[in-house]
Amino acid sequence: MSDERLPRRRTARSARGTGRARIGSYLAAVVIAVPFLLPFYLLLRNSLMTQAELGALEWRWWPERIDLTGFADAFDNGTAPLGRALLNSALVAVVSAPVSTLFASMAGYAVARIRVAAARPVFLLVVATMMVPGAATFVPTFVVVGSLGGVNTLWGLIVPGLFNALAVLLFRGFYLRFPQEIEDAGRIDGLGHLGVYLRLALPNSAGLLAALGVLSFIEHWNSFLWPLVIGQDPALWTVQVAMSTNLTAQAINLPALFASAVVSVVPLALVFLVAQRWIVRGILATGIKG
């Protein structure tokens, strides 16, 4: 579609820098940016409107009077209070992102740098799990977590998401390239395998840790299927599950729902804007290998 149209428009001129062609590119970029930004604008606008305005017959660019009752209602909701849901989501993301990244880094280092006979089989055991798609197997995972008593518990919500085989693969690749001289120097200073990992390898992989950690944070904050399956008790609802419950309910308080969405998106959008460099690196690392 757009990839066909845009280059063709420029065939007349050769170099990439001719004035008219460049203006065309910018024009196209601005026009295409509109549908990408429109949903964000709608989200904000709707959270400031009243229920009546949202159901009106006429399109309105901005609420007649800014109305914040949606935000008050969202936090005041009896069945699914937003505060509790935000806390659950934050807990899941704040625990899962660093822990899962650390687990992957530890295992990645071990299979890359510690030469024991088990290294190869363990690595294959880890890689084999990558063949199995994550979401499609939620029923077997639910069965196991259920048999361990994990339904409607915080650990049932968090623990199954801590084991990321793809990240192990990436860390292994990184640690294989970790300079032998640094390890040797650490050995001479009396460090064992654990010491070399904790004092030298781990600090040196801060870039990859940050990249995969930020990506994992976003993934866990936005994840929906597993929290929906395992946390049936409203006290365990994450913000996604709480919003979904309100969205699929019979009577919908629309301003409150849009206000919840704003509150749930803002922290992530901030993480996204601040840590974009790490996110891009993380995606490149995971995506290209994927």
């Binding site: 170099a15 990408f36 687990f103 295992a107 395998h193 299927l225 490149l284 290209i288």
Partner: protein, 326 residues
Amino acid sequence: MSVRTGARQADAGTVRPAPGSARRRRVDWSAWRAFALLTAPLLVGLLVFKYVAMGWGLLLSFSDARGTIALGDWAGLANYRTLFGDPRFRESLSMIVVFTLVIVPLTFAIALGLAVLVNRLRRGRALFRTTFFLPAAVSYVVASLIWKMSLFSGVPSSAANSLAALFGQEPTAWIATVDPPLYWVVLVTVRLWLQVGLYMILFLAGMQEIPAELYEAARVDGAAGQWRLFRHITFPLLRNTSVAVTLLLVIAAFQAFDEFYNLLSTGLAGAPGPDGRPPLVYLYDVSLVQQDYGLGSAGAFVVTLLIVLVTLVQGRLVGFGRRDGD
């Protein structure tokens, strides 16, 4: 990376030692202990939540496990027969194939187009890249809310209906309209909005790897024109990225759940609903609403097998992107 001190060490750093050298050393218990400590958390987790789960699920899929997750009554292939006898499951399979065939090429083309466009910008490149990428921070639930209740809602003041009104169209109930399948517009655009930026980033990264001299050489040879440069240099050299992107897109499409669950609530809980019910929504309904874990497990294995097969066939077809330089 720093300069290596010797060939022997360089080898040791990157390659596993030859079996001979390992045998020469005695068993290094400190190495074993460190290895065990470092791999234990991940290994235990994978064993319990992947291997045991898959094994248990496989056994359950051959059991009569209604309302229970305990293994008990052997049922043979009964669950699989029920599964394939259920028109809703068969429809969900054909539905997801069509969905994949629509969403994958669309996402691919738009992501690639955006990457080409962003790559061409000099100033403001970061601004536009961020703009196209920002939806990746939004969850499917929030996007479904915006799409269902604002962008494509049935009220006359929704964005889609207001735009249509400019062209003299009557307001439409987008999600509720099955014939013609207008709800597909909603389903497809929401996923496009959410995922296109991520794949644009992958394409952009691939483009950074293409040496600028190739373009210069092509210009000297008279192969000017952006379209021809794209066709003869950019696109062929993005082959590995294209293969990876397609693979990721297909796997993601087959596991679609969130937007279907949140947009088409009419299709839940056994209600007939529109035919917009992908396999994972069917599995959710069977195992968590009807609590038939045997049937749910059987379905999970069929879907998993399907994804693995599609992945393998696709890998076969495109040679897994391993061959370089063609």
